[in-house]
Structures are given as C-alpha cells and as structure tokens.
C-alpha cells in the first residue's frame, strides 16, 4: 500500500509538467488550430529563464576582505553579489537562495513576450497552411531555439537548486499512519505539484469566469461567427498564445530544481506531451490535464522494481504503449470532441 502511494506521489510531479505543457499545446491548438512543435522549446526557455534570473541575482563584484587571508597570506578576495550590498548580507543571500521561485516574476513577462513575437512573427502566417507545414515550421523553430540556448549556455545541464528551505523531504507516510520513512516526498516536488494545480485552476477559471475567457471559448467553438459579431478574435487568440507560452515557461522554470535544464530537455518533453495531448483528446483541455497526470503516474508505476522485473524495459515504453492502445481503441482520445483534427 505504501509503495503504491509513493508511486502515485512520484508520478504527480512529472505528471504536472506533462499536464502543463499539454494544456498549453491544447490551448494553442484549440484557439489557433496550430500544431505547435516548438512548445517543448518554450518549456525549455522557461527553464532557462530561471537559470538566467538566478545568474542575474548572483552578479557580483570583487572586494578585498582584510580580516581573512588566503593560503599565501595575502588578503582574501571575495565575490560579493550586488544584492548583498543593496539589501544587506542576510536579505541578499535569502533572495539569491529563493532565485527559482522568484524567477516566476521574471519568466512571466519574458514568456509572454516570446509568445507574442512567435505568434505575430511566424505562426500567424501558418493559420491557413496544412497541419504538416505547421508541424514542420515549428519543428524548425524548436531546433533554432534549442541551438540558440546551446550557444549561449553550453550543452551541459545547469544545476539550479531549490531554496534551502525546501531542500528536505516530507515524511508523508507518518500523516497517513505508516511507519516513518515509508513514504518520503521531497518538498520541492510537492510545491511543484501544488504550483501546477494552481496554474491549471487559474487557466480554467480564466476561461470559465471572465468575459475574455468566454469570448475565447466562443471563438474556439466558432471562430467566424465571433468575428462577425464584431469582436477582434485574432487579438484574443494571440493573447491566448502568449498565455500558453507563459504556462509552458512557468512549468519549465519551476521544474529546474527537479531536472537540471539543458538545451535538449524541450524535445524530450515535447514528444511525451504530444502523446499526452493525443491520449487526452486533441482539443480537450480537461483531457490534456487528466492524461498528463495519468501518464505521469503510470510511468512511475512502470518504473517500480517489481514491475520492471516482470516486464523489463516497460518503464521506457509504457507511455507510448498506452498511446498506441488508446489511439486504436478510442481514436478521439479520452475526452476528445467530435470533428477535431479528423480530416
């Protein structure tokens, strides 16, 4: 029993990432009708927003510390971040320590901007082109974005730690009456899960309870009619693209303590997220979220030792197997609607 709960918990954080990316993909697809192969790259750029932000915070200058000496007996030179000059040593260090959560503030405007530029500059011209062209051009864009990041940050993963306050683990089993250390769950993964739950809820609430969201939903159902009613639906869809980019970016920024970002991480997540979208049902937002969590949990179950000894290698391919099974038995995915991408 405790092993099962543990695997469910382990699946949650990966599932959250899948769900957030798949949510963005579905938003873009549902509003603009564009299959965005560069969405994984947006996730990756979000992760590098966190890296950039934490580097910005650590910008420092060298001062000579007279009280200490190095091994040659000269006065020691220490790098002091500007933040510590401005806010005092303790506050400055604390801000640097909290770089990853704070990078949200940095990532949101950056990702919105990236999203707008991408939509206005490139995607706009591909509304009327076939889906194959959209896939190809965004695939090319994903390569370009990945290479730009690689040129600037190098090819190696960059470790970006979570704040010290969250570095430990939560002994979750004790709460449920199990032995100590039976179910251990790192705090940051819990935070990530809660964070993504908030984001998902926020997106749904935004679409459900605001006038803007209502117009967007109407546009998703029937774009032409909404346009005929005198609403500039293109502008709203562009904003939705920016929003989807921001969701992917935040998912990436907060994921950095779990997985050190490198330029290729977007591609890995993209393939899986597409599978998630297809399993959930193309065009269905709840489907994307559900399938994201489901596949994340399934994947962590498959990586249990008991399962692996029974079916070796199953952890590598479980998601694809499920996707194939779903596509063949329920062609529209778990919650797909009729008439979406059926041509």
């Amino acid at each position: 029993m405790d092993a099962i709960i543990l695997q469910i918990l382990n699946g949650l954080d990966k599932g959250s990432a899948y769900a957030l990316i798949a949510l963005g993909l579905t938003l873009i697809f549902g509003t603009l009708g564009v299959v965005n192969f560069a969405h994984g790259a947006l996730f990756m750029i979000g992760a590098f927003c966190a890296v950039t932000f934490s580097r910005l915070l650590q910008l420092s200058h060298e001062i000579v510390d007279e009280t200490r000496t190095d091994f040659l007996g000269n006065p020691l030179k220490v790098d002091v971040p500007y933040l510590q000059d401005w806010f005092g040593p303790e506050t400055g260090a604390a801000i640097i320590d909290w770089a990853v959560p704070l990078s949200i503030l940095f990532a949101i405007p950056v990702m919105l901007l990236v999203g707008f530029v991408m939509e206005r500059g490139l995607i706009k011209h591909f509304y009327k082109r076939p889906h194959a062209d959209q896939i190809l051009v965004t695939f090319g864009l994903a390569i370009v974005l990945g290479e730009i990041i690689k040129a600037n940050y190098g090819a190696n993963p960059i470790p970006t730690p979570a704040p010290a306050a969250f570095s430990g683990s939560l002994d979750f089993g004790v709460w449920l009456g199990f032995d100590e250390n039976a179910i251990i769950y790192p705090y940051w993964r819990l935070i990530y899960f809660l964070f993504s739950a908030v984001i998902i809820a926020g997106v749904f609430a935004f679409l459900q309870f605001t006038t803007f969201g209502m117009v967007v939903r109407a546009g998703m159902a029937d774009r032409e009619t909404v346009g005929l009613l005198g609403i500039d639906i293109d502008k709203r869809f562009t904003i939705m693209f920016g929003l989807a980019a921001a969701v992917a970016g935040l998912a990436g920024a907060m994921y950095t303590p779990i997985l050190s970002p490198n330029y290729n991480m977007g591609m890995d997540f993209l393939v899986l997220s597409f599978v998630v979208v297809v399993v959930g049902g193309m065009g269905s937002l709840p489907g994307a979220v559900l399938a994201g969590f489901l596949l994340g949990i399934l994947q962590s179950f498959a990586s249990m030792n008991e399962v692996k000894s029974l079916l070796p290698g199953i952890d590598q391919i479980i998601i694809y197997l499920v996707a194939i099974a779903i596509l063949l038995t329920r062609p529209r995915g778990l919650m797909g609607r009729r008439g979406v991408m059926e041509e």
Binding site: V35, L122, H125, R129, H131, A132, D133, I135, L136, V137, F139, G140, L141, A142, I143, V144, G146, E147, I148, K150, A151, M267, V271, F274, V275, V278, M282, P312, G313, Q316, I317, Y320, L321, A323, I324, L327, L328, P331, M341, E342, E343
Partner: protein, 395 residues
C-alpha cells in the same frame, strides 16, 4: 527505354551520369588549393549523399505521394543497420546477405507498424509513428542490449562466429572480395580524384532505387497514392479502399530506409541506437522538404545538400573565418567572425534549422520549386522578347 517515356529516360540518364561522375564533378578545386575544403568528392561524404538519398527517396514515396507524414522512419534505418551488422557477425563480411536481410527486416517491421499506424491519419499518424520509433529507440538502448549492445553500439568482434568466413576473406565489408573501403586514385595535374568501391555500390543501389521510384511515380499505383493525398473520401466513395495502397507505400518506404541502413552498415560495420532517435527521423523529413516533397529528384537534392552543408559548416572554424575576412580592416574582420561564429562548427544545427524554416515559409515546394520559379522567370523574360520562344520544362 526501360518502360519510361523520353522525358523520364532523359532524367534517369542525367542522374546516372551525375552520380557516376560525382567523384570528378564534386572535386572542382585542386587538392592543394585553399578551396579544397569545399570539395565533396571523397568517398566518405559521397556515400552519405547517396545513402541518405535512398532514404529520402523512400520517404518521399510515402510523404510526397500519399501525404502521410511519418515521424518515425529512422527506426527502420536503425533496424536495417542492426540486421546488417548481425549478418556480418554471423555469416561473413560479404555485404550481399547483410543488405538483403536489412531490407527484409525493415519490411517486416514496417508491415506491422504500418498496419497499426495507418488506421489513423493526419497528426495522429505522425504521433503513432513517432511513438513506435521512440519505443524502438528506448528498447534498443535498454532491454534489447543483448541484440543491440546498448550504448556501446553493435560491432563485429574477433570471436564472432562468422561461419561463412573463408581463409582469405577480407576482414572488412566486401562484395565477393571487392573491399568497400578500397579506392582507386586518379591524379590529373593538381587534381586528385578518388573512386571508392563502396561509393559505387551505394550509387548503383541509389540509381536502382531512383528508377523504381520513377516507375512508381508513373504507374497506376502511384496515381492511386496521389488520389489518397488529394481526397481520401472520394476514393472511398468510388469503392476503393485506400488502405492497401497506403500500406504498400509505407512498406516500400520502410524497405528503402532498411536498404539505406544496411548500406550505412556496409560502409562502416558498426551501428548504434542513436540512428533511430526521432531527430534522425526529423532529418529525413527535412531532406525531403528541402529538396521538394512529391518531386522525383527533390529528395536526392535535399539529402545531398544537407549532408554537404553539414560537412562544410561543421568543418569551418573561427580560424578559417579569419582567413576569409583577412582583407577587411581588423575591427570589421573580428566583427564579422563574431557574427558568423554561432552558425558554424558546432552551431551547424542552428543554420540547418534556419534554412529549414526559410524553406517551409517561403518555398514550400523546396529546391525543385525554386528551380521552377527561376525557370519561369526566364521564360517570361524570353516571351517578352520573342513571344514564340520555348523553354525547356523545368522538372
């Protein structure tokens, strides 16, 4: 000739001459000159041209004719390579059984994968093929290590059985004694031309593949595949099931990929799982689109161009750039080098991505369409001069 009309015969003959004379044509610069780095006429690179040409020709039969965009074709190439290396390990270094088995293995797998994937179309088909390819890749890396040798990559060891290995058989891949690595040099003044045995085997295979694809394009079967692309519903209404046709196209293109994989192994008897990765599948899509999907010669051009640019761009480094811009004032020279630096050497993929995006955005028909546009431009200019002037067809 060969069941082709005059125009196609001419095309085939032109391609054959180009391919056969490639060691000379691709070596326009003398061996010692500074421009020699732009030469492409050495066997290693030319082999890649023709082998990936085969791969792209096969992919084009599926994508160009039926419009089904497979994102997992590299899996068949990888399987072909593994099959070929296993033939080397078990029988002998003769390439004939290796290439035969690689085609058969790829065909068998593509029947299964195609049968399942083709139940869906559009993006779902792409995702299904992608899923299968990623599965093959993941399995080759992990569980199938006894067969694929995992991360190390599969290669031939001295204690392998090699039961058909005679006393005097060469210890490298060969065709009944003709070593694939063997070359003949021809020195003409400052030029050195290298003719590789392996290249000519691959080139003959490519010509054969090209001929078969030419026949497919012109056959009723090819017409059927085009019908699938333009409107599947109408095809169904006329009482024809598109399934057997698409499956046949899928299997044929899978066999082409297997042949390419077998040839890759025949040129260099080792292989690894990275040949199956989805970026490798993406590369063949790039080649086909770059050259022109649905055209005969496009995929070959695309494959050659990408492999050539890859070779050139990865070779150029800052030092060479400094030589090029040496005529400029120092500040400007450094500026140019700094600007170009991200696009060369390790940054080659950036250039590739940009070229690819530009092609998809501005020239969806690829290089062939570009050629046609230029041809039309000249035609129009000529018709302005003399309205009765005729120009050659641009394909």
């Amino acid at each position: 000739m060969l069941g082709l009309d005059t125009k196609d015969t001419r095309l085939l003959i032109i391609v054959a001459i180009m391919v056969m004379a490639a060691p000379i044509l691709l070596n326009p610069f003398p061996a010692d000159s500074a421009m020699a780095q732009f030469n492409a006429g050495y066997p290693d690179l030319m082999q890649r041209f023709v082998i990936f040409g085969i791969f792209a020709i096969g992919f084009n039969i599926l994508f160009g004719l039926t419009g089904y965009l497979s994102f997992g074709h590299a899996a068949f190439l990888g399987m072909g390579s593994y099959a070929a290396v296993w033939m080397f390990k078990l029988l002998s270094y003769n390439v004939v059984p290796a290439i035969l088995l690689s085609v058969i293995v790829a065909a068998a797998f593509s029947v299964v994968i195609g049968y399942i994937s083709l139940r869906r179309s559009g993006i779902y088909f792409s995702i299904l093929t992608l899923a299968f390819a990623q599965m093959s890749y993941a399995l080759a890396y992990s569980v199938l290590t006894p067969i694929t040798n995992g991360e190390t990559g599969l290669q031939v060891y001295t204690n392998d059985p090699q039961i058909l290995m005679g006393e005097n058989s060469p210890n490298v891949p060969h065709l009944f004694g003709i070593e694939m690595r063997g070359t003949a040099d021809l020195e003409l003044g400052a030029w050195t031309f290298t003719f590789g045995n392996g290249y000519y085997l691959a080139a003959l295979m490519m010509l054969l593949s090209f001929y078969i694809s030419l026949r497919i394009f012109r056959s009723p079967f090819g017409l059927m595949l085009r019908a699938v692309k333009s409107n599947q519903n109408r095809l169904t209404f006329t009482g024809v099931s598109p399934k057997p046709y698409t499956l046949a196209a899928f299997v044929i293109s899978g066999m082409y990929a297997g042949l390419a994989g077998g040839l890759l192994a025949a040129m260099d008897p080792l292989t690894g799982a990275e040949r199956m990765q989805w970026t490798a599948s993406g590369e063949v899509v790039l080649m086909t689109i770059l050259g022109g999907a649905g055209t005969l010669i496009g995929p070959v051009l695309g494959a050659g161009l990408i492999k050539y640019l890859e070779n050139i761009f990865s070779k150029i480094n800052d030092g060479i750039l400094h030589q090029w811009f040496a005529f400029m004032p120092d500040g400007l020279e450094d500026f140019m080098v700094t600007i170009l630096h991200p696009f060369i050497g390790k940054g080659w993929h950036l250039t590739l991505g940009l070229i690819f995006m530009a092609i998809v955005i501005f020239l969806p028909g690829g290089l062939v369409e570009g050629g046609q546009r230029i041809g039309r431009l000249f035609k129009r200019r000529k018709t302005d001069d003399a309205s009765s002037a005729t120009t050659k067809p641009a394909e």
